[in-house]
């Protein structure tokens, strides 16, 4: 059990609360890397800016280790977010915490952000940086065994599988990192992926140093079985077409992400994956509405890319506000 204290300094430093009655130059929806960097850039440009967030740090918080953010050889996801949010807090950008955005509207030249509480926030421009959420396998039994073996956060739930057998679904960096973490706790880890590895060679090499890890590539998961707890999965070998069962107590799903864009449906244009379409200036189909990071159709969902897209969106928003003034 790791006792080391993980203080959330973003909280203790107290980003000031957001005045809901004020009309801002720019409101940023989302407080992950894209939203935080947008806030930093916009504030430094002199805009009146506020953050509307649900989970500070976004998905990075659930990441064990980040080893590809320039300037930091190794950071836990959390520590990286601590650096980000302290930097933003030092500029006293107001933050509305635990906010759920229900929908957006353009009323004359103002953008209205309708919250799930019925409250309405108003701004001259907005940046949508609501990121993405873990994709589900979409197979039989996945929902039934959610919280009974099926899990989506390896650092959260890993400790509950000490000495047990687990499966990791996926072949990208997140999946391989999760498998490495779990290999330290679990009795055995079986990584199952339907095609070839997408992960960086450097993390695959690391995974191969663990003797309790097995890898099944070109293998598709078709069902999660058990009762009342999960007991295993049924997989299909893509080359032979044969199915077999792999017994395990847990299944960690790390197969990519879906954009959190539901609240903006019908308001801005999206592609067929429901990602918000942006141009090189991060403009959406609605003037005054910009978008950045994993929620958009830009390729490669990476922390450093989301952060830099946030910066671009803030600079475009600044130009937009200056033209209005």
């Amino acid at each position: 059990m790791e006792l080391k204290l993980n203080m959330d300094l973003g909280n203790s430093k107290k980003m000031p609360g957001l005045d809901k009655t004020k009309v801002f130059d720019l409101l940023i929806v989302g407080s992950g890397p894209a939203g935080l960097n947008a806030a930093l850039y916009a504030k430094r440009k002199g805009l009146s800016v506020g953050l509307v967030g649900k989970k500070t740090g976004g998905q990075v918080i659930d990441t064990t280790s980040v080893e590809n953010y320039l300037g930091f050889e190794f950071k836990t996801g959390e520590d990286l977010i601590k650096e980000f949010s302290q930097h933003v807090a030092s500029l006293e950008v107001p933050l509305l915490k635990d906010a759920e955005v229900a929908s957006l509207e353009k009323v004359e030249d103002w953008i209205h952000i309708n919250l799930s509480t019925g409250e309405v926030l108003e701004a001259r421009s907005v940046i949508l940086a609501t990121g993405s959420r873990p994709r589900r396998l979409g197979v039989k039994g996945e929902d039934d065994f959610l919280g009974k073996g099926v899990a989506y956060c390896a650092i959260c739930d890993g400790p509950l599988f000490e000495g047990l057998d687990v499966i990791v679904a996926g072949g990208g960096n997140s999946a391989v990192e999760a498998a490495i973490d779990l290999a330290k706790i679990a009795n055995s880890v079986t990584l199952v992926h339907r095609s070839q590895f997408r992960a960086d060679q450097i993390v695959i090499d690391k995974l191969n140093t663990y003797s309790n890890v097995k890898v099944h590539l070109e293998t598709e998961i078709i069902e999660v079985q058990g009762g009342p707890l999960m007991s295993g999965i049924v997989v299909k070998d893509k080359a032979t077409g044969e199915t077999r069962t792999i017994e395990a107590n847990g299944l960690f799903v790390e197969i990519g992400y879906l954009p959190n864009s539901g609240y903006a449906k019908g308001f801005v244009q999206m592609n067929n994956k429901e990602e918000i379409i942006v141009n090189a200036l991060n403009e959406t189909s609605v003037p005054g509405v910009f978008a950045a990071g994993d929620v958009t159709d830009i390729p490669y969902k990476q922390i450093i890319i989301a952060a830099s897209e946030g910066a671009k969106a803030a600079l475009t928003a600044n130009d937009y506000i200056n033209r209005l003034k």
């Binding site: 790791e2 959610l146 400790p159 509950l160």
Partner: protein, 216 residues
């Protein structure tokens, strides 16, 4: 074993400067068979030293049975928070609130001292309608970043309603209990040992599940 370095001590002192009234950390332990009791007591003493308004009280689950019963303490270590009148408001931590749980523990100290933020009125109306006793268990691991958020919500509800008793349960320390409730994803929230959901869900979800426990 010291969990607080000088930097953290300084940060916590600043946070505790916002406390309004005194509060007590009543810590239940047991003589034998409690692996984490010693660490928990020493951690609580470290916290106590950071503010004149925080008081520490050592209790034994066997010797102080009456009080354990009054606070619904059934396992050790258990930290019960009492206000300046030594009243129990329904806020309890079972297991050491280290790791990420520091982020639910520190705000709870402020809340019990009377320095909390008020909930929106729409929630308060729903909470005041709760007439039958409610117990909320929030199972966590110390490495879970978003578990503290769920613990905070449960404790906030307890503060607002005399009928609600809310407790954090560290899943690894209380393995048998976690097993009983099939905890394999955290945070897992169990209400009156009967209704459950997984994840740091919005307060609306807590209230929906609580409503199921109320007699019509």
């Amino acid at each position: 074993m010291s969990l607080l370095n000088e930097q953290l001590q300084g940060q916590l002192r600043t946070i505790f400067a916002d406390m309004k009234n005194d509060m007590t950390l009543a810590v239940f332990t047991q003589k034998d068979g409690c692996e984490t009791c010693e660490d928990t007591v020493s951690f609580m003493k470290e916290i106590e030293a950071l503010s004149d308004k925080i008081h520490f009280e050592a209790l034994d689950i066997d010797a102080d049975q009456e009080r354990a019963k009054a606070y619904n303490v059934k396992m050790v270590p258990s930290i019960v928070m009492l206000n300046d009148k030594k009243e129990y408001l329904g806020i309890k931590f079972n297991g050491i609130p280290a790791g990420h749980e520091i982020n639910s523990f520190i705000p709870a100290i402020l809340e019990v001292s009377g320095a909390g933020e008020a909930l929106p009125e729409s929630f308060l109306n729903q909470i005041s309608a709760i007439k039958d006793p409610v117990n909320i268990k929030v199972f966590v691991t110390l490495s879970c970043p978003h578990c503290a958020g769920a613990v905070q919500k449960a404790h906030k509800l307890a503060l607002e309603s005399p009928m609600i008793d809310a407790e954090m349960v560290e899943a690894q320390t209380f393995y048998a209990l976690s097993d009983q409730f099939n905890v394999s994803s955290v945070p897992k929230i169990v209400i009156n040992d009967q209704y459950e959901f997984v994840g740091n869900q919005p307060l609306e979800v807590f209230l929906e599940e609580i409503a199921k426990t109320q007699s019509a």
